[in-house]
């Protein structure tokens, strides 16, 4: 029988691989697929954790994660794509160098984690959650496509739930409210995503 902790570690590691995958490649549609896969892994984690500890809050949370973030959010973002969406690529030409930066930041994040949060939460799950959060920030900071930037934000939110599960699960009412809040932001973002999908430098917004 595989120990439960190893199953948790495996799922969290898969989430991390998916976060790295999000940094690779320039097709925007991939970023949404990445979010769906990562969210599914997160939901599986919460579900198993709920079953193992007989914590029904976590089981409810798992279903809400898959429904709100995995399905609804992805659906709303996909609706913002014009036709022939699978062919839309990011204009940035720096993607290969971002991958290298991403790996370097991953290592740096683990060192920071070891020096700070590890002291009171010495768990690989927490470490991975922390790393994914920083990878999400990197995705936001280095890309110009608004959908890619927003998937970076969702990735960061996924990381927070993983962190919470790894350190100390928050009360269900807070977790649900967080999910709903993010959903509201997705709807708002969908309105703002109309028109040009690239973030622009405008003279009026300088200085």
């Amino acid at each position: 029988m595989i120990p439960l902790s190893e199953i948790y570690d495996f799922i969290a590691t898969m989430m991390l691989f998916v976060a790295i995958w999000a940094q690779i490649g320039s097709y925007v549609i991939t970023k949404i697929e990445v979010i769906v896969i990562q969210t599914t892994f997160l939901a599986i984690y919460a579900f198993i954790s709920g079953l193992a500890t007989l914590n029904y809050d976590l089981i409810i949370l798992a279903f809400l994660i898959i429904f709100i973030r995995g399905m609804l959010t992805a659906y709303i973002l996909l609706k913002k794509f014009p036709e022939r969406r699978s062919l839309i690529r990011e204009k940035s030409t720096t993607v290969p160098s971002i991958i290298i930066v991403s790996i370097i930041i991953l290592i740096a994040t683990l060192i920071i984690y070891r020096l700070t949060i590890y002291q009171f939460a010495p768990s690989p799950i927490t470490a991975i959650g922390f790393v994914i959060a920083i990878q999400g920030l990197l995705l936001i900071g280095t890309r110009k496509n608004k959908i890619t930037q927003f998937t970076g934000y969702i990735e960061e939110e996924n990381a927070m739930i993983l962190l919470s599960l790894g350190i100390f699960p928050l009360p269900l009412v807070v977790e649900i409210s967080v999910l709903l809040d993010v959903l509201a932001l997705v709807i708002v973002a969908a309105v703002l995503l109309s028109g040009n999908l690239a973030s622009e430098k405008l003279e009026e917004l300088m200085g």
């Binding site: 009171f120 934000y153 350190i167 009360p171 509201a184 708002v188 917004l205």
Partner: protein, 451 residues
């Protein structure tokens, strides 16, 4: 459930009900009547004794913020009623009103709620409810500013969630009153929690270097929304940060906060002289005010009173400044400071409100912000933080001089005998004037011993 708790529920429910006006044709009149009603309820809520009420709590700081939120909200609704008269899509205006009410609900919820987790959610909800308020005309710059606002603030606030998790890990509860009243011994985990709260909520407050969304959003939003953002939203976020600070306090954390606050003041002092856009100039002034408010809150003692005075003066003074900027935009059709000249002759009332509100937000006497700054500096000297005093005083001086120089040039330069007074709606003039009058009247509230 006692009457005080019911009153808090009413205070929260009224704006939610008002937001339903989207589905009718009377959104403007409902908004005006409803916002006055909300202000009256907020004044009645002042009678609620300090303490815990079901899921809520009333303390000496949030009761003042509740009042300022309600009044600035009323002013903004009235200002919007004439400011957007020429809008092409009436549907957008209905949505605008509706979202304004929801936005106020999220702010009041954040102020009243007693749970750190729900407080975080309230602040995040203010972003969701206010982002679309920026894009009433659906212009390219508005959409880009709104996008930056949503993305940067939400990303920052997500980091603040780490703080909630760590507080829950340490205390096993999120009840803010219980946590703060119980007291705690400083620990590494709480210092990390406080630092992540600073980064997260600091993004919303406009603490350097997480402030980048602020000048864009304030500069591009309609004037009444800039007034609400600057005058009440940011102080609400500062209040939340203050509650987190109380729950995680340590000597090391105080130093971290101090470094970020002073860095903000230095940044504003450096960037203020080069400002070319009137609304962005006031946005940077907001960063200064927020830094001072946060400084007062974390210093405590007399500085806390100073912070409360600045919160109130800033709420009305900065609203007056943004309302005046909106009026200037209507008259001149531009936000560029270099293109605005001869305001004294073109619109004497706007010139007056702009000058007075600028004096209020820069902390000039007789406005209470002056007393507030004095109290903060006095407390810092008492605490022996002389370097902080030096940096604060120098920065305040540079910022005030820069801002007033630009304002006086707009008002007093380029006036000629041939200038004709520009036509401006009375409501807009009155709202700008009333805001300044309220900012001035805070001195009597202070002298009367109400703070």
């Amino acid at each position: 459930m006692n009457t005080d708790t019911i009153l808090i529920y009413i205070l929260l429910i009224v704006p939610v009900l008002l937001s339903l006006s989207y589905f009718g044709n009377l959104s403007q009149i409902i908004g005006k009547i409803g916002s006055i009603l909300e202000a009256i309820i907020a004044f009645i809520a002042l009678t609620i004794p300090l303490g815990e009420y079901s899921y809520f709590n009333i303390n000496s700081v949030n009761r003042i913020l509740i009042i300022s939120v309600s009044i600035v909200y009323t002013f903004s609704v009235f200002f919007a009623s004439t400011y957007h008269r020429g809008i092409k899509e009436p549907r957008h205006l209905k949505l605008h009103y509706s979202l304004m009410h929801l936005f106020v609900f999220t702010m009041l919820f954040t102020l009243a709620i007693n749970d750190f987790g729900l407080m975080w959610i309230g602040i995040e909800a203010t972003t969701a409810s206010s982002a679309l308020l920026l894009i009433i005309e659906r212009q390219k710059t508005e959409i880009e500013a709104a996008w930056r606002y949503v993305l940067i603030v939400s990303t920052g606030l997500t980091l603040a969630l780490i703080s909630v998790i760590l507080i829950y890990l340490d205390y096993h509860t999120l009840n803010s009153v219980s946590i703060i009243n119980a007291g705690h011994s400083p620990s590494f985990i709480l210092t990390v929690a406080g630092a992540t709260a600073l980064v997260g909520f600091g993004t919303k407050i406009g603490i350097f270097p997480m402030h980048t969304w602020l000048p864009d959003a304030h500069g591009e939003a309609p004037s009444e929304i800039s007034a609400m953002f600057s005058g009440i939203l940011l102080p609400v976020a500062a209040y939340v940060l203050y509650r987190f600070y109380l729950a995680t306090y340590s000597g090391r954390l105080e130093i971290i906060f101090m470094i970020f606050i002073l860095a903000t003041l230095v940044f504003v002092a450096l960037i203020m002289p080069s400002q070319k856009n009137i609304k962005r100039m006031f946005a940077y002034s907001t960063m200064e005010n927020m830094a001072l408010i946060t400084l007062g809150l974390i210093t405590g003692g007399l500085a806390l009173v100073g912070a409360l005075l600045i919160i109130l003066t800033h709420a009305f003074g900065k609203s007056g400044a943004f309302f005046s900027s909106g009026n200037i935009l209507k008259i001149y059709g531009t936000k560029k400071i270099d293109s605005i000249r001869g305001l004294r002759n073109k619109s004497p009332s706007t010139a007056m409100s702009l000058l007075a509100s600028s004096l209020a937000v820069t902390g000039a006497p007789p406005f209470t912000a002056f007393v507030g700054e004095l109290l903060i500096i006095y407390q810092l000297i008492s605490n022996g933080s002389l370097l902080a005093v030096f940096i604060t005083v120098v920065c305040i001086f540079i910022i005030s001089i820069s801002l007033m120089q630009k304002v006086t040039v707009m008002i007093f330069d380029g006036n000629t005998d041939k200038d004709e007074v520009a036509g401006l709606d009375k409501t807009q003039k009155y709202v700008a004037g009333l805001s300044v009058l309220f900012a001035f009247s805070i001195i009597f509230v202070y002298l009367g011993g109400f703070i």
